[in-house]
C-alpha cells in the first residue's frame, strides 16, 4: 500500500515530490534539533538558583529571525513551484484515455462498469479492476450512498466519491502486477473492509479478460450445482446478478464471474472454498454490519450454493 514507490505516470511525479519533501523536511528537523540542542547546552546555567543569574539583553537576536525566515521562505517558494509543476503534470493523462470505467462506491464495496461504445461490450464487475499495462484509463467516480474515497496508492492519489457529483480521475500502470487500494474516507461500520484491487495485465491478457467477463454464466451441469442454482435464485437473486440466469438483483455485487476475483467482501477474506462457504452462510460474522444478511442455510443447501457459486468462473 505504500506510495513512496509507484508504477504509473499519474503517481510518479508525485512520488518524486514526496521524496523531495521528505528529504527536505527531515533536514529541517535535524537542523532545528541541532540548533536547539546547541543553544540549550552551550551556555546553560550551572546553578539552580535562578534569581542569581543576571538578566541580559544582548543584541543580534533579530539576525536569527531574518536569516532563518529568509531561508525558510526561499525553500518554501521553491516547494510551491515544484508543487505547481507536479500538479500540472498529473492533472490529466498525457494521451487520451483508452476507455472509461464507471465506479460506484457503496457501503462497503465497489461496483465497476466498463464502458464501451458498443453496449454489448459493456459489463459490470466489482472490487477488482483489470487495466491494460501502458494505457491511461479514465475513472468516472459516482457517489451512491455516503462519501467514499478511491485510492490505489501505487498508481494515483485519492479522489473522493461524493453523492450528487461525478468526479473524474485517471490511472495508468507501467508494470504488470496487482495493486491494492482501500477506501480512505470514513464511511461507516465497515470502512476498514473496503479494499479495491487494480490488476494490470499485458494487452493480450487484458483483452482476454474483458472478453471472458462478457460471457454469461454457464448452465450448471451437475445435480449439486443445479440444485445450488435453484437455491441461489431463491435466496440470493434479489440482491445479486448472475448474467444468463434469473438472478438480477442490483443491491450487491454482480457475481457472474465472482470466481475470477481474489477476495470476498471487498478484500475482507480470500476467495477460497472455506471462506466462501462461511461468507454465504453468515456474512455478518465475517464483516459485521455489512448489507449481506445472515442466511443460515441447512448444511446441504449451503454446500450446494457454494458449489454453484464456484462454477461462476
Amino acid at each position: 500500500m505504500t506510495y513512496m514507490r509507484t508504477f504509473g505516470p499519474a503517481a510518479d511525479p508525485v512520488t518524486s515530490l514526496g521524496w523531495g519533501l521528505t528529504v527536505i523536511c527531515s533536514l529541517v528537523i535535524l537542523i532545528i534539533a541541532g540548533l536547539l540542542l546547541t543553544a540549550t547546552l552551550r551556555a546553560r546555567a550551572t546553578t539552580a538558583a535562578i534569581s542569581s543569574i543576571p538578566i541580559v539583553h544582548p543584541g543580534g537576536g533579530l539576525r536569527w529571525i531574518v536569516i532563518g525566515t529568509g531561508v525558510s521562505t526561499a525553500v518554501l517558494f521553491g516547494l510551491v513551484i515544484w508543487t505547481m509543476f507536479t500538479l500540472a503534470a498529473i492533472a490529466s493523462s498525457p494521451e487520451p484515455p483508452a476507455f472509461t470505467i464507471e465506479i460506484r462506491a457503496h457501503q462497503w464495496w465497489w461496483e465497476a462498469r466498463y464502458l464501451n461504445d458498443s453496449s454489448d461490450r459493456t459489463f459490470v464487475t466489482a472490487n477488482e479492476l483489470h487495466i491494460p499495462v501502458g494505457s491511461p484509463v479514465q475513472l468516472k467516480l459516482i457517489g451512491d450512498d455516503v462519501i467514499h474515497s478511491f485510492w490505489i496508492p501505487a498508481l494515483a492519489g485519492k479522489t473522493d466519491v461524493i453523492p450528487g457529483q461525478t468526479n473524474l480521475a485517471w490511472i495508468e500502470a507501467n508494470t504488470v502486477g496487482t495493486y491494492r487500494g482501500q477506501c480512505t474516507e470514513y464511511c461507516g461500520a465497515q470502512h476498514a473492509h473496503m479494499a479495491e484491487f487494480v490488476i494490470a495485465d499485458s494487452a493480450p491478457d487484458f483483452k482476454a479478460w474483458w472478453d471472458r467477463q462478457l460471457i454469461d454464466a454457464e448452465v450448471p451441469s451437475l445435480d449439486a450445482t443445479t440444485r445450488g442454482e435453484a437455491i441461489f435464485l431463491a435466496r440470493c437473486g434479489a440482491c445479486h446478478t448472475v448474467r444468463g440466469t434469473g438472478a438480477g438483483g442490483i443491491v450487491g455485487p454482480d457475481l457472474t464471474h465472482v470466481m475470477s476475483r481474489h477476495t470476498l467482501g471487498a478484500g475482507t477474506v480470500p476467495n477460497e472454498r472455506e471462506s466462501l462457504r462461511a461468507w454465504i452462510n453468515n456474512a455478518q460474522a465475517v464483516k459485521p454490519g455489512s448489507r449481506m444478511p445472515r442466511l443460515d442455510l441447512p448444511p446441504q443447501d449451503l454446500d450446494a450454493v457454494t458449489a454453484y457459486v464456484e462454477t461462476l468462473k
Partner: protein, 653 residues
C-alpha cells in the same frame, strides 16, 4: 501618569496612594472574597477560580479522551484483533476527537487565559465576570451532555468532522448524531461569550501604560484566537443547525436526493475547523513566548515580529480551509491557490521558531522542568510544521490525506503544540495558582516519559502512513507490513499515558506539600509575579502603572529611565472596582463597577441545558420550559442594579 484622572463635578476621584498592603488587604479582601462553601462554588465570578476550574475540567476530559485512545490502541496493536466491535471503535474515535479538540484543547487555553489575563494586564477581573462564569458552566454542561450519550451506547459515530450523508438520518437514524450537533451548538455559546469577554477585557481593562506594544505574547495569542473564534464558530454552529433541521424537520440542505449538497457541510465545517486549529495553538505559542525567556534570563528575541506573526497566522489561517478537502474533486486553480496559502502560512511559524531558538541561544538557559517542556515543544512544533508543509503540497496530499501520516501530523500539532506548552505552563504558573512549586524531581521523570513516549508512539505513525495505512479503520489485514509499527505506537502511547499520570501525581503531591514559592520564584518579569502567591482574590492591591514590557526587570535591563509603578497607583477600594483605560494607549478613563457573586450564570447555563435535553428527547414540554427559563434567567441577570450603575465619569485630560 500622576494626574490623568481628575475630579469632576459628578465624578469620583480615584486616589493615588501608597499604603502598606497590610492596611489595604483586609478591606479589599472583604470586598472581593467569594462566599464560602457551596454558595461560593456555585456563584463565584472570580476569574482565577474560573480559570483553574477550566483547566481542571479540561484535564478530566483529556484523561477521558486519553483512555478512549488507549482502548483504540489496544485494538490496533496487531492486525485482525477483535477487542472492539466496529461500532464501538467508531464511537470511540469520534468521541476521542471531539473530546480532545473541543473539550480539552480549546478550554484548557481558555483556562490559562481566564486565570492569567487580569493578572497579566494589571486588572482586578475580566470585563464581564458573570459572562466568564457562564462560559465555564456552559462548557461543563455541554461536555456532560455529550458524555451522557456514552453510557447509553449512543455516542456520535460519524467522526469529529461528522460528514453527511453518513451523519444524515438515512445512514444514522439514532440520536447519536443529534448528541454531536446539539453538543457542539451548546459548546459554541460558551466559546463565543468567552471570546467576546477576552476581547473587551483586553480593550478596556488594561493597567495604565499597558499599551499594545507591551502586551505579553500570550495576550496576543488569546486575542487573535478570540477574534478567530468569533468569526469561525458561527460557521460550524450554522452547519450543525442545518444538519439538525435536515435530520429532524426534513429540510434538504445536505440531502442529495433533493439536490442538497454534502460538500456544503465540509466547507462550513472547515471554515471553522482550520481557524480553530490556530485558536487552539496560538495561545499555547504565547505561553512559550512568555515563559521561555524567563528561563533564558533575557527578554524574548523579536517581540514585534512574533506578535505580528501571531496575527498573520490567524489571518492566513482563514484562507486555507480547502486543504482539508483537496481530494473532493476541486478545480485545479482552487487547488493551486489553497495549496500555496497552506505553504505560506509556515512563514510566520518560522519567525516564531527562530525567535525562540535565538532567545535560548543568546540567553543563559536554566534547565528546569518548565524549560524542558517549553523548549522541547519547539522541535515538536517544527516536526508538526514540516509535516504540515508536506500535506499542504496538494499532489502529495492526494496520497497523504486520510492516512496515518495525517494522524501523526495532527498529534504533533495538538500534543506537541498544545499539551507540551500547557504542561510547561502549569509547571510555570502553578506557584502563582497554589503558592507552591511543583516537584522538580518528579518533573524530570514526567518530562522524559512524556517526551519519549510521545515520540515513540507518534513518530512511527508518519512511517505507517507513508506505507499506506488509512485512518479511522477499526482493524487491518495482516501482511500489509503495518503490524510492528502499530505495536510500537501502542507501546509508546501507553508510555506517554504514564508520563501524563506522573504529571497528575506531581500536581497532587505538590499542591499539598510542594516547596513554598513566594511571589516570584522564577524571578520572572511580568506583572502577575509582582503579587503574592497564590494571587490574592483582588489581584492587585493597587492598580499598577506599567512603563515597559518587563516591569520586574526594569532596573536590571535599564533600557529607559521610566519605571513601572507597582507600589504606588490607583487604589480602588470603595466597592468592586477596576479601572477602565482607553483602547490603544491604556490611559485611565473610567472606574468600572464590577458585579459580585451571582447565581445567574449557573441558572442560565442550566436553563440552556434543559432546552438542549428537551431537543434531544424530542420533548416540546422540556424544550419550552428550557426556553422560558432562559428568558427568566436573562431578565434576572440584566435587571438593572443601582450598585452597578456608572456613578460618574472620570474625565480624561
Amino acid at each position: 501618569m500622576e494626574n490623568v484622572l481628575k475630579d469632576t463635578e459628578a465624578g469620583r476621584v480615584p486616589r493615588t496612594v501608597s499604603e502598606s498592603e497590610t492596611v489595604i488587604d483586609p478591606k479589599l479582601k472583604a470586598i472581593w472574597e467569594t462566599a464560602p462553601g457551596i454558595r461560593g462554588i456555585l456563584s463565584s465570578v472570580d476569574h482565577k477560580r474560573i480559570g483553574i476550574r477550566y483547566i481542571v475540567t479540561a484535564f478530566v476530559f483529556l484523561i477521558a479522551g486519553g483512555i478512549e485512545a488507549l482502548i483504540m490502541r489496544l485494538q490496533l496493536a496487531h492486525s485482525d484483533l477483535k477487542i472492539l466491535s466496529p461500532e464501538a471503535y467508531n464511537q470511540l474515535f469520534t468521541m476521542h476527537g471531539f473530546t480532545m479538540i473541543f473539550l480539552y484543547a480549546g478550554p484548557v487555553l481558555s483556562g490559562f487565559s481566564n486565570y492569567l489575563w487580569p493578572l497579566l494586564l494589571g486588572s482586578r477581573d475580566m470585563a464581564f465576570p458573570r459572562l466568564n462564569a457562564l462560559s465555564y458552566w456552559i462548557f461543563l454542561l455541554a461536555g456532560l451532555f455529550l458524555y451522557a450519550s456514552f453510557p447509553l451506547g449512543l455516542a456520535p459515530d460519524a467522526g469529529w468532522f461528522n460528514y453527511p450523508p453518513l451523519s444524515g438520518k438515512d445512514y444514522n437514524p439514532g440520536p447519536n448524531i443529534d448528541f454531536y450537533l446539539l453538543g457542539l451548538i451548546f459548546l459554541g455559546i460558551s466559546t463565543t461569550v468567552g471570546s467576546a469577554n477576552f476581547l473587551v477585557s483586553l480593550l478596556r481593562t488594561r493597567a495604565p501604560g499597558m499599551s499594545i506594544n507591551r502586551l505579553p505574547i500570550l495576550v496576543w495569542g488569546t486575542l487573535t484566537a478570540s477574534i478567530g473564534n468569533l468569526l469561525a464558530v458561527p460557521a460550524v454552529s450554522l452547519a450543525c443547525v442545518l444538519l439538525f433541521t435536515d435530520r429532524q424537520f426534513g429540510t434538504h440542505f445536505f440531502d442529495v436526493e433533493a439536490h442538497g449538497q454534502p460538500l456544503l457541510w465540509q466547507h462550513l465545517f472547515w471554515m471553522f475547523g482550520h481557524p480553530w486549529v490556530y485558536a487552539i495553538v496560538l495561545p499555547a505559542l504565547g505561553i512559550v513566548s512568555d515563559a521561555l525567556p524567563t528561563f533564558c534570563r533575557r527578554p524574548l528575541v523579536g517581540y514585534t515580529p512574533v506578535a505580528l506573526a501571531t496575527v498573520a497566522t490567524m489571518i492566513v489561517g482563514f484562507g486555507v480551509w480547502l486543504h482539508h478537502m483537496f481530494a473532493t474533486g476541486m478545480p485545479v486553480l482552487s487547488l493551486a491557490f489553497f495549496s500555496a496559502a497552506s505553504l505560506v502560512i509556515t512563514i510566520p511559524s518560522a519567525v516564531s521558531t527562530f525567535a525562540w531558538i535565538a532567545t535560548i541561544w543568546t540567553g543563559k538557559p536554566v534547565l528546569t522542568t518548565p524549560f524542558l517542556f517549553l523548549s522541547s515543544f519547539i522541535i515538536l512544533f517544527v516536526i508538526g510544521g514540516v509535516s504540515g508543509v508536506m500535506t499542504g503540497a496538494v499532489p502529495f496530499d492526494f496520497q497523504l490525506t486520510d492516512t496515518y501520516f495525517v494522524v501523526a501530523h495532527l498529534h504533533y500539532v495538538l500534543i506537541g503544540i498544545n499539551v507540551f506548552p500547557v504542561i510547561g505552563g502549569i509547571y510555570y504558573w502553578f506557584p502563582k495558582m497554589t503558592g507552591r512549586l511543583m516537584s522538580e524531581r518528579i518533573g524530570r521523570w514526567n518530562f522524559w516519559t512524556m517526551f519519549l513516549g510521545f515520540n515513540i508512539g507518534f513518530f512511527p505513525m508518519h512511517i505507517v502512513g507513508l506505507m499506506g495505512m488509512p485512518r479511522r479503520i477499526y482493524t487491518y489485514a495482516p501482511g500489509l507490513g503495518w503490524d510492528t509499527i502499530n505495536l510500537i505506537t501502542t507501546l509508546g502511547a501507553f508510555a506517554f499515558a504514564i508520563g501524563v499520570l506522573l504529571f497528575l501525581i506531581n500536581v497532587f503531591l505538590s499542591a499539598r506539600s510542594g516547596k513554598l514559592a513566594g511571589p516570584n520564584p522564577w524571578d520572572a518579569p511580568t506583572l502577575e509575579w509582582s503579587v503574592p502567591s497564590p494571587a490574592p482574590v483582588y489581584n492587585f492591591a493597587i492598580i499598577p502603572v506599567v512603563a515597559s514590557r518587563h516591569p520586574l526587570w526594569e532596573d536590571r535591563l535599564n533600557e529607559s529611565p521610566e519605571r513601572s509603578s507597582l507600589t504606588r497607583g490607583y487604589l480602588l477600594n470603595q466597592g468592586r472596582e477596576t479601572l477602565a483605560t482607553t483602547v490603544l494607549d491604556a490611559e485611565p478613563d473610567l472606574i468600572l463597577e464590577m458585579p459580585g457573586d451571582s447565581y445567574a450564570p449557573l441558572v442560565l447555563a442550566l436553563a440552556l441545558g434543559v432546552l438542549f435535553v428537551g431537543l434531544i428527547l424530542h420533548s416540546a414540554l422540556c424544550t419550552g420550559l428550557g426556553g422560558i427559563a432562559i428568558v427568566i434567567a436573562i431578565l434576572v441577570w440584566l435587571w438593572p442594579q443601582r450598585r452597578l450603575g456608572q456613578v460618574g465619569e472620570a474625565t480624561h485630560v
